[in-house]
Symmetry: C2
Subunit: 543 residues, 2 copies
C-alpha cells in the first residue's frame, strides 16, 4: 500500500525487504513449522481465547518488524484513545465508543464532558426492564396476547452482528422469543417473514440510527400496513432503536418503547449497544446479554493492556497486513468448525470490508493500492467439500480456522470409525491446517500439493455468551487495529454514497411513472431504460 | 495462466496484447458504455434468460478475440462431446452426463453402448411413484404416522445445489414436506436438526455416491442411534441415494427405498439427478421437479446450439477468463437482488471453485498461475450495506447482478417515497451497476469514486421452477465452458485428497486414545499434540 503514512516507516521498509525473500527455502511453511519451539512461541492464550499463528508465513525477523510497525504507528495508543472517547473517526469528527457499551468497572470517561457510561447504563436499564415486562407478559399485543416473536427491521450493521450472536446462542440458551430478520427491501423477504409469524403476538423492532434508511423505512411501512390489515395498534407492537432527534424519535408517532442510539457508535460496531442488546435481551433475557458483554469486555481489556508481542487482535491485524500488503493475498477465509457460527463470516465480511476498503488514508491521502481484502467463509467441514479444492491446488488464500472446545450437544454421540462426531470435526480442522501448510509431493502432477498455504487457528471454550462476546470483540479489535496501523479510518463509509444517490435518481423516475402512466424513460441511458421498461411491462418483457 | 494449451493460441496472444491497453481511455467503462448501440449489442435474451455484459471492460476487439479463443479451443465441440457421453473427465476416465438427466425429447445417446436416458428415466419413474406414495400416505412411519419432514444427510455436492433450489422455490410452491439439511459432522448440526423434527414423522435421506463419505456415515450412525432411541424401524424411515454396488446398496441392510446414482454425474453437477430429484420431489412433488428439469433443458439446448457470439454461458465464461487471466481480478461476487436466491452463491462457490481451482491442465501439465477465482456473495440490497464500500472504493472485483422480474409476493405492497418495495429493489440493482461503472469525481478524496468496476446483469422471469432450472444450468454450463477453454478438467477434485488422508491419521490417534486412556500423543507434532490434548482434557484446557 503506497502511502506516506506507511512508506516512511522504517519497519515498513524492512518488511518490504524481508518479503523479497519469501520464496526462499527458510520461508517455506514446512520448514518454518519444524523450527524448535515454533508452536509454543507462536501461540497465545488469554481469558479463554486461544490464537495459534504458527502456520503463518512469518519468521522471527518478520514478527519483530511487524511489532515494530505497530509501535511506530502507535497502534496501542490509538486504541487507548479510541476507548477514551477521543475523536478517532476523523472524517466524521466523532468518537468511536463501542467499547464503552461493555465498561464493567472501568474508570469513568468524560469525552467532551459527557458521562458516556451513564448514558449507556440508562439505555441498558431500560432494555432490562422492557424485556422483563415482555417476558412476564406485563406488556402484551393489542389483542391481549403475549409476544412470541420479534421481527428486527434493520439492514447492514443494524442486524448482521445481532444475527450472528442470535444464531450462535440459540442452542445454548432456550429463547423466550424467536427473532426474525427483515433487512432486505425485497418484498419476498417480507412475504417470507409473515408466513412464519402470528400478527397478534409479534413485536416489530425498527433499528436505524438516522431513521431514514430507505430499506428500513420501506419495511416499516410494510409492517404498518400489515398491522392495519389485522387491526393491530402500532403503539402496542412497534419498538424503535434510533438516535435522539431522528424522525423515529417523534412523540406524535407513539410507540411501545424507544431505545437510544448514539452517534459515537457506528452500525457495524453496534452489536453490544441497544442495536444488539434489545433483540438479544428479548430473545434470551438481559442476563444472557450481560454475560455476552462480559466476554466482549474481556477481549477489550486484553486488546488494550497486552503488550504488542502478546496482543491477540493486534497480532492478527499485523499478520493480515503482512498477508495482504507484502504477500499480496487478496482474500481471507473464515472457517469455523462449528455450525452455530455460520453467520460469523457474513458479519465479519461487513465489519472488515466496510471498515478497511477505502480509497484514502485518514489524512485524506489517496491510496495507490487496493485496500481491504475479501472476507468469505462457510463452516467446516462443509467448506472442505465446497471450495477447499481451490484452497489446496488453485489460488491460495490465508484461512482462519476456529474451533469450539465444548460443543452444546455433547452427550449422545454415536461412534463412527472409533471416534465421536465432535472428535471427527476436530480431526478435520487440525488436518486441514497441517495439510495446507505442508503439502505433499507426487510424481503425478494432479496429485501434487504445493503446500505453503498459511492459516491461523483460534479456539474458544464453548458456545456460551461470554465466548461469543470474546469472538465478536476479537474481530472488532482486529479490524480497528488494522486500520490504525495502515492509517485508514475504519469508522466511516463514504463509498456507499454514490450508489444511494444514483438509486435515488432512478427511484424518482419510477415514482413519476407510478403517478403518470404516460411518463416514459426515453431520456435515460439505454440500459436503465430497458430495465425500467421491463419492470413496468412485466408480461410484455416475459413474452 | 501459463500453459501450452493457452499460450500457443493466436487469440490468447492477441488478448495479451489487448490487455496491455486496458488503462487507456477507450477502455474506461464510462466511455465504453456511451458507445452507440453498446447496450443492444452487449445483451442477449434467450428462453426467458437475459444477460447484459455491456458493463464489462471489453470492447469489440476483445470480444472478437474471446470468441476466437472459444473457437480455437473448440469449446462448443467439447460441450457437445460432453452431452453425447464422451469421456470428457479424462483423469477419472469418465463421461460427465448431468445434462442427460433433463433430456426432454433429445435424440437418444448410447455412450459405451448404454442407453443412458433409459437408465435415468427408470430412476425418475421410481422417484415419481415413491414421492406420490409418501404424499398420499400410502407409505408411513413405523408408528403409522404420515411423513412431514425429510432430513437430507449429505455434504458438498450432495446437498448444496438441492438446498439452493429448495430455498428458491419454497415460497413459490407450497411444500408437501419440509426439508432439513444435515451436512456437517458437527454434532451441534445434528442437535439443531432434531430440535425441529418429530422422529415419528421424519424420513432420513442418505445421499452419498460411494456411501463411505466420513461425515455422511457419521451422521447416518447418529440418525440410526436416534431412531433406535425412539424405537423406530430404519426400514420405514431410511432412504438412500447411492451408486450401485456401494456399501449402501446392500440388501442385508433393508431400507424404505433406494435410488441410484451414476458415476457419470459428479456431486456438484448432480442437482438434476436423484440427488436433487428425490428431496425436491418429496418437498414439492415430482411435477414441480419436472418443470425445474425443463428449465435446465432450455439452458442446455441454448448452450449447445447458440453460436459463440450469442451463447450466454459461453460468453459469461469467456468474460470470466478475461477478468481473471488478463485483468487479474482474483474474485467474483454474485449478488442476486432476491432473498429467495440467498443460497445461490454458496452453491456456485462449490460448483465453480471445486471445478476450476486446479494445479494442472487436463493433459497433466502443471499450471504456473493460480487457477479459479474466489466466488462469494450475498443478496442485494443487503450486500450494499455490507461489503459494497470495498467494491466502490477499495479492492475492485467483478460482480454478477441478478434480478427477478416478477417477485412472488407482488400484490400487497405499501408505497415508500412513491415506489413499491420491488421497485425500490430494482432501482438499487440498476443504480449499483451504473455507479460502479461510471464512478464520480470529487475534490474531496474521500468522496472520490474511480468507477471502472465491471459487472454483468442477469434477469430471470420469476421464481418459477423453470426459471430456477435455467439459472442452475446457466452456472453449470458457464463453469464447464470455462474449464473447456482453459484446458482444465472441471470434473475431478484430487485437491481434496490430502486433507482426507491427514484427517484419517489424526482420527486414528483419537480412536486409539478412546480405546486406551493410557495412549499419549507425544509422538505427534507439537500443534497436533496440543489440540488433541485440549480435546481430551476439556476442563483442564479451559482452566
Amino acid at each position: 500500500m503506497e502511502t506516506t503514512h506507511l512508506n516512511n516507516r522504517i519497519a515498513y521498509k524492512n518488511l518490504k525487504a524481508l518479503s523479497k525473500q519469501i520464496d526462499s527455502k527458510k520461508f517455506q511453511l514446512k520448514n518454518l513449522i519444524n523450527e524448535k519451539r515454533r508452536f509454543k512461541s507462536c501461540s497465545i492464550k488469554s481469558k479463554g481465547f486461544f490464537f495459534d499463528y504458527s502456520k503463518q508465513r512469518i519468521n522471527e525477523a518478520v514478527f519483530l518488524e511487524l511489532v515494530s510497525l505497530a509501535k511506530e504507528t502507535q497502534a496501542k495508543l490509538q486504541f487507548r484513545n479510541m476507548m477514551q472517547g477521543k475523536r478517532v473517526n476523523l472524517t466524521e469528527n466523532r468518537a468511536a465508543l463501542h467499547t464503552a457499551t461493555r465498561h464493567f468497572g472501568s474508570k469513568k470517561i468524560f469525552p467532551e464532558g459527557i458521562d458516556v457510561y451513564d448514558l449507556i447504563d440508562q439505555v441498558n436499564i431500560q432494555i432490562k426492564q422492557f424485556s422483563k415486562n415482555i417476558h412476564n407478559q406485563i406488556l402484551k399485543g393489542s389483542t391481549g396476547k403475549p409476544f412470541t416473536d420479534a421481527v428486527i427491521i434493520g439492514i447492514g450493521g443494524s442486524y448482521l452482528g445481532c444475527e450472528f450472536v442470535y444464531t450462535a446462542l440459540k442452542d445454548t440458551v432456550k429463547p423466550f422469543m424467536s427473532l426474525h430478520f427483515l433487512p432486505n427491501v425485497d418484498i419476498d423477504n417480507f412475504g417470507r417473514v409473515i408466513k412464519t409469524i402470528n400478527p397478534e403476538t409479534t413485536l416489530w423492532v425498527i433499528v436505524s440510527k438516522s431513521y431514514t434508511t430507505t430499506e428500513t423505512m420501506a419495511n416499516l411501512n410494510q409492517a404498518l400496513w400489515y398491522m392495519k390489515k389485522y387491526n393491530l395498534n402500532p403503539e402496542n407492537h412497534l419498538v424503535t432503536v434510533t438516535a435522539k432527534g431522528s424522525p423515529g424519535d417523534d412523540p406524535s408517532n407513539p410507540v411501545l418503547a424507544a431505545f437510544r442510539m448514539f452517534d459515537f457508535i457506528g452500525g457495524r460496531y453496534s452489536v453490544s449497544s441497544a442495536v444488539g442488546g434489545l433483540p438479544l435481551s428479548l430473545a434470551f433475557g438481559f442476563d444472557i446479554f450481560t454475560q455476552f458483554l462480559k466476554g466482549c469486555h474481556d477481549m477489550d481489556t486484553h486488546a488494550l493492556d497486552a503488550s504488542e508481542e502478546k496482543n491477540i487482535p493486534l497480532l492478527a491485524a499485523l499478520i493480515s497486513i503482512w498477508n495482504s500488503n507484502f504477500l499480496m493475498y487478496p482474500a481471507q477465509a473464515i472457517i469455523p468448525y462449528c455450525s452455530a457460527l455460520s453467520k460469523l463470516a457474513p458479519h465479519v465480511q461487513q465489519l472488515y470490508m466496510e471498515s478497511l476498503g477505502k480509497g484514502v488514508t485518514k489524512d485524506g491521502e489517496v491510496v495507490h493500492f487496493p485496500t481491504g481484502v475479501l472476507i468469505f467463509g462457510e463452516p467446516g467441514t462443509n467448506a472442505q467439500h465446497s471450495f477447499f479444492q481451490l484452497a489446496h491446488q488453485g489460488r491460495p488464500f490465508p484461512i482462519e480456522f476456529i474451533g469450539v472446545v465444548c460443543p452444546n450437544y455433547d452427550k449422545e454421540q454415536a461412534m463412527s470409525k472409533g471416534v465421536s462426531n465432535h472428535q471427527e470435526l476436530w480431526a478435520n480442522m487440525i488436518a486441514q491446517a497441517k495439510a495446507l501448510a505442508i503439502g505433499k509431493e507426487s510424481t503425478e502432477p494432479s496429485r501434487c500439493f504445493k503446500g505453503n498455504r498459511p492459516s491461523s487457528t483460534i479456539l474458544i471454550n464453548d458456545l456460551s455468551p461470554e465466548s461469543i462476546g470474546r469472538l465478536l470483540a476479537f474481530y472488532e479489535a482486529r479490524t480497528v487495529y488494522e486500520g490504525f496501523v495502515l492509517g485508514i479510518n475504519p469508522f466511516d463509509q463514504f463509498g456507499v454514497e454514490l450508489g444511494k444517490v444514483t438509486a435515488s435518481d432512478i427511484r424518482e423516475q419510477i415514482a413519476l411513472k407510478n403517478k403518470d402512466a404516460g411518463h416514459n424513460f426515453n431520456s435515460l441511458d439505454p440500459a436503465t431504460k430497458f430495465y425500467l421498461n421491463a419492470l413496468f411491462n412485466k408480461e410484455l418483457y416475459m413474452k
